[in-house]
């Protein structure tokens, strides 16, 4: 149980952000879990390593909220995998999340700017 709690904490910590990143990753095309993780990792310049233990709970939660939908399909290498696709609702959510993120960044930026001495 102790370990479960640890995982849950981590998810909760970066929940909003991870959700946004996953939704953003799915913006162009449907993808399976591994590809999503890879895409976020490469686009972040290898800074974010999305843990599987966070990714799948997040995906299943997003699906439950009807922001993504899933479908079993074959990959190019003929491997059966579950592909996630953004829904209209998810697209709207992504826009909201993105705006809020920009607000947050600019607000934090404003606070962190060195104060000008009068």
């Amino acid at each position: 149980m102790a370990e479960t709690t640890k995982y849950q904490n981590r998810i909760e910590l970066m929940q909003g952000t991870l959700d946004m990143l996953v939704l953003q990753a799915l913006l162009r095309e449907p993808m399976h879990g591994y590809a999503i993780a890879q895409k976020i990792r490469s686009r972040s310049g290898e800074v974010f390593t999305v843990e599987t233990g966070s990714l799948y709970p997040a995906l299943h939660r997003l699906e439950r909220q009807k922001w993504v939908k899933s479908e079993w399909k074959l990959t190019e290498s003929k491997q059966r995998a579950k592909f996630y696709q953004l829904t209209a609702l998810g697209r709207k959510q992504l826009t909201t999340d993105h705006q809020r993120w920009l607000q947050l960044v600019s607000a934090i930026g404003a606070v962190m700017e060195p104060e000008v001495q009068p």
Binding site: G53, R64, T75, A81
Partner: protein, 903 residues
């Protein structure tokens, strides 16, 4: 069948598997060795089952899945311990069921309001007490005047008639309880019909060929199949034609708790003489024509009043009625010569009493409260017993639990599983309890209803009952499951965690032993209380069943002939001759000592009368009032009532000779003190009506109003001097009177082939018929006492078994070191003895307090009750010891080598 989540779970596993495949394939594509690639991908992935678990939690229905898992596990556990499961189920069923059954009765009798709108507005109207019966009844003309005085206030009148014979085509006649009611009775109370219509003003019209009647719902259904079918039926009631116009609302059982009329009839039916209605009047000598209609007779008092008045208007309406009723009070004062009583009567004010204030509530509040307390005790004993068994059981499961905890199960989950297991038990037990409770309340009503009055109560399930049931369920769950589980998990399992060897070595700590001893001791105390009460109630019942009633209760048979027929009533002068022939014929029968006729049909019968003594005008009402009965020759020897002074009636006392009377000791003392009553003249009224009868005899007192009531003052007149149809023939047998029934019936048909006998009952049955409350208390307390005794025995057996099992090794060592088997047995029995002793002492104190509190219902001296406590203690001690001997014997028989080897 597959659960939806099982499919989803497989899908999740497959998804993660696919992830692993893709990751491995990518690494291989980058040139890694396939085996190493897979290992690296796995490492990157992390703890797979854990990821699955966390992901599944996102689905939101893990709890449901867990509960189903736990339920299956719980059912398996319960199946594995059938003895515990059965004990728990039965304990809960009885513990909760007993409370529900008694509560339902308590609710119906004491708490429930009439099922009508605004029951608090309806009150009984008490205008004046009648001169002899002291009942709150008034005459029909007075009722009409009161009603006319306040047209806007619904004033309802009713009269309880004697049961009538209902004849239906092609069916055996049945006896139906009848009540006469005014036309505004149902509308005033606000009762709606279930079907058809209720009374309207036109139904009071006199001289109808076919009178309308309204039926009680359950009676209509029982008699005609359904309420709808009953409406429009033509019925014969005491030989007269009636038609059913409607059926009252299902829940409405009349306005008096317990006494539900089967048939309601208009008041005007009285004028036809179809029904016998109890009445009171100004006494003998006043002008009353009972055989004529009562609607225009202001001196026959027979109507009970009820009115719906909002509380704010009450004072004004009552004052107005007082004015209107003044003349009737004046009339009532004629019944007495006592100026104090006259004055008091004139100054009485019309008052109100709540509907709930009736005999039932007064009679049953205390007995039902006692029963409720006893029921609560048995529930408590049950819970304690289960808690103790549960602790022992959890202790035995400590190893299993600790292993599961070591494997990562959380404490919460373990407690939840245990509690769920017990919740299943409680649910199962409660289903049985509700069934048992509703059956029990029916049985209780039958127990409390006796031969002499039968109760009909509304026993439909209701909200308070459901609330009580749910409350007891939760309480029992808390007591026997949640608390023990929390305690066991906190302490026992924590210490037991580890290897099996360590678990086996876990001995019960002193603290744990003390706890289970306290639980057992409390059970012993409560059980002692219940057993004592049961013994005391049983002794009380036996007392009333055997108390000296001043009559030969065991040998007298009451035969009820039907003499109220024109053949006899129109020729009453012939009756003395018939009585004499009956007496002679019956006394010829073998086994008959004597026989005699009596006006009274049984106990509770003598009517209230007044005797004024010639030459005395200082007598108060309290002195002159007594009961009257008309009896045939040989009545006193037949009943076994000794003649103290003077003589019995004889054949020379006829309607041509001087009227004579015989009075009982109590009446003689009331009228003459210790002076000799023989030769005194008495009459029904003050001078000049005070010398009609010559007192020729004085007899001993007899409890003619029932075994529990004091012997009343009675004056006996000779039936031959005022010939009238009698209601009973008493036969005194040499042996068991029951065996005479057939020969008596046969002999009577020989004397008069047309004479119909309606009933033959022994006097003892009639007297015992009064003892409803005593029987209820004695029987239910007896059932409870045996149940708790059983529970205590089970408790001792369970706890001592689990203790001896745990101490096996210790016993092995003891035996190996030279202890005898007797020593080992004594060790265990000694423990039981200590617990018994520590339970019996407080139990005895509790019992003494309880016996004091219930002393009103107990007949018996202090020493008899102490005897009950001692007896109950001995029974308890035996039960506890026997239950312990089994495990003790088993422990002592064990082979020390076997035990030491396992160590």
């Amino acid at each position: 069948m597959r659960w939806p989540w099982e499919r989803a779970k497989e899908s999740l596993s497959e998804e993660l598997e696919a992830h692993l495949h893709i990751a491995t394939a990518e690494r291989v594509a980058r040139g890694e060795d396939p085996a190493q690639a897979r290992a690296a991908a796995l490492r990157e992935l992390g703890n797979l089952p854990l990821i699955e678990d966390v992901t599944r939690e996102r689905w939101g229905w893990m709890w449901l899945e867990n509960i189903l898992h736990d339920t299956r596990y719980a059912l398996r556990q319960l199946r594995r311990a059938p003895a515990f499961t059965a004990t728990a189920l039965l304990t809960l069923a009885f513990g909760i069921g007993a409370n529900l059954g008694v509560f339902q009765l308590l609710y119906a009798v004491i708490l429930a309001e009439l099922p009508i709108p605004h029951p608090e507005e309806v009150v009984r109207i008490h205008a004046a007490r009648t001169p002899f019966d002291q009942s709150w009844t008034i005459s029909y003309p007075a009722y009409q005047r009161l009603r006319a005085a306040t047209p806007d206030v619904p004033l309802m009148a009713s009269a309880y008639a004697q049961d009538a014979t209902l004849d239906l085509p092609n069916r055996a006649p049945i006896e139906a309880a009848c009540t006469l009611v005014s036309d505004n009775y149902f509308s005033g109370l606000g009762v709606a019909p279930a079907t058809g219509r209720l009374f309207v003003q036109a139904d009071e019209r006199m001289g109808q060929g076919e009178w309308p009647v309204v039926l009680r719902y359950d009676f209509a259904r029982k008699t005609f199949g359904s309420a709808q079918q009953a409406v429009g039926q033509h019925i014969l009631l005491n030989g007269r034609a009636f038609v059913v116009i409607g059926v009252a609302n299902r829940r409405f059982l009349g306005d008096r708790t317990g006494y539900a009329p089967d048939i309601w009839l208009p008041l005007a039916v009285q004028n036809t003489g179809a029904l016998a209605v109890p009445w009171d009047s100004l006494g003998p000598g006043h002008d009353v024509s009972l055989g004529k209609p009562w609607y225009n007779q202001p001196t026959i008092f027979w109507l009970v009043l009820m009115a719906r008045i909002p509380p704010v208007r009450r004072a004004a309406v009552l004052a107005h009625w007082d004015q209107v009723f003044r003349d009737d009070r004046e009339v009532m004062t004629e019944a007495t010569a006592d100026s104090v009583v006259k004055n008091a009567l004139l100054h009485v004010r019309t008052g109100v009493a709540p509907l709930s204030e009736n005999g039932m509530r007064k009679r049953f509040t205390v007995p039902l409260t006692i029963l409720m307390a006893l029921s609560a005790s048995i529930f408590l004993v049950g819970c304690l017993n289960l808690a103790n068994l549960q602790l022992a059981r959890l202790h035995a499961r400590a190893h299993d639990l600790s292993v599961r905890m070591a494997l990562g199960a959380s404490r919460g989950r373990l407690i939840r599983q245990i509690v769920l297991e017990d919740a299943l038990l409680v649910a199962g037990g409660s289903v049985c309890a509700f069934a048992l409770g509703s059956a029990a309340s029916g049985i209780l009503v039958r127990w409390v209803s006796n031969r002499n009055d039968l109760f009909t109560l509304d026993l439909h399930p209701n909200l308070p009952l459901a609330a009580l049931g749910a409350g007891l369920m939760l309480l029992s769950l808390l007591c026997f499951s949640i608390l023990p589980a929390v305690i066991a998990i906190r302490t026992g399992v924590g210490q037991a965690a580890g290897s099996r060897a360590k678990v086996a070595g876990v001995s019960q700590t002193a603290h744990q032993r003390f706890r289970s001893n306290v639980l057992l001791g409390t059970q012993v105390s409560l059980s002692l209380l219940l057993s004592t009460m049961s013994a005391c109630f049983a002794a009380t019942l036996v007392h009333w069943e055997t108390v000296d009633v001043g009559m030969d209760r065991e040998h007298v048979l009451i035969v009820r002939p039907e003499l109220h027929e024109p053949r006899y009533t129109d020729h009453s002068e012939m009756l003395p001759e018939l009585y004499s022939r009956i007496q002679e014929r019956l006394q010829e029968l073998p086994g008959v000592r004597s026989a005699a006729v009596e006006m009274c049909g049984g106990i509770h019968c003598g009517w209230i009368t007044a005797l004024y003594v010639n030459g005395r005008n200082d007598l108060t009402d309290a002195q002159v009032h007594g009961q009257e009965d008309h009896v045939g020759i040989g009545f006193f020897p037949t009943l076994g009532i000794p003649i103290l002074r003077g003589r019995d009636f004889s054949s020379s006392d006829t309607d041509k000779t001087q009227r004579v009377a015989i009075i009982s000791r109590a009446y003689a003392r009331q009228l003459f003190g210790d002076a000799d009553p023989i030769g005194q003249w008495v009459g029904y009224g003050p001078a000049p009506n005070d010398h009609k009868f010559l007192i020729v005899g004085e007899v001993a007192d007899a409890r003619v109003n029932g075994a529990e009531r004091e012997a009343p003052p009675v004056v006996y007149m000779s039936i031959n001097q005022n010939p009238a149809p009698v209601n009973s023939i008493r036969v005194r047998a040499v042996g068991d009177p029951r065996q005479l029934s057939d020969s008596v019936r046969h002999a009577l048909s020989e004397v008069d082939p047309a004479l119909h006998v309606s009933e033959i009952v022994p006097l003892a049955t009639e007297l015992d018929g009064d003892l409803g409350t005593e029987k209820l208390l004695a029987r239910l307390a007896g059932v409870y006492a045996s149940l708790t005794l059983l529970l205590v025995a089970i408790g001792f057996y369970g706890v001592m078994s689990s203790r001896t099992t745990r101490r096996k090794n210790e016993f092995g060592i003891r035996l190996a070191l030279g202890a005898t088997r007797g020593h080992i047995q004594m060790l265990i029995v000694g423990q039981t003895a200590r617990i018994l002793l520590s339970g019996i002492l407080p139990g005895a104190i509790l019992s003494i307090l309880a016996v004091r509190a219930a002393s009103h219902f107990l007949y018996g001296s202090v020493s008899a009750n102490s005897l009950a406590i001692i007896g109950a203690s001995i029974v308890l001690a035996i039960a506890g010891s026997v239950a312990t001997l089994i495990p003790a014997h088993r422990a002592a028989l064990a082979d020390p080598l076997e035990m030491l080897r396992s160590e």
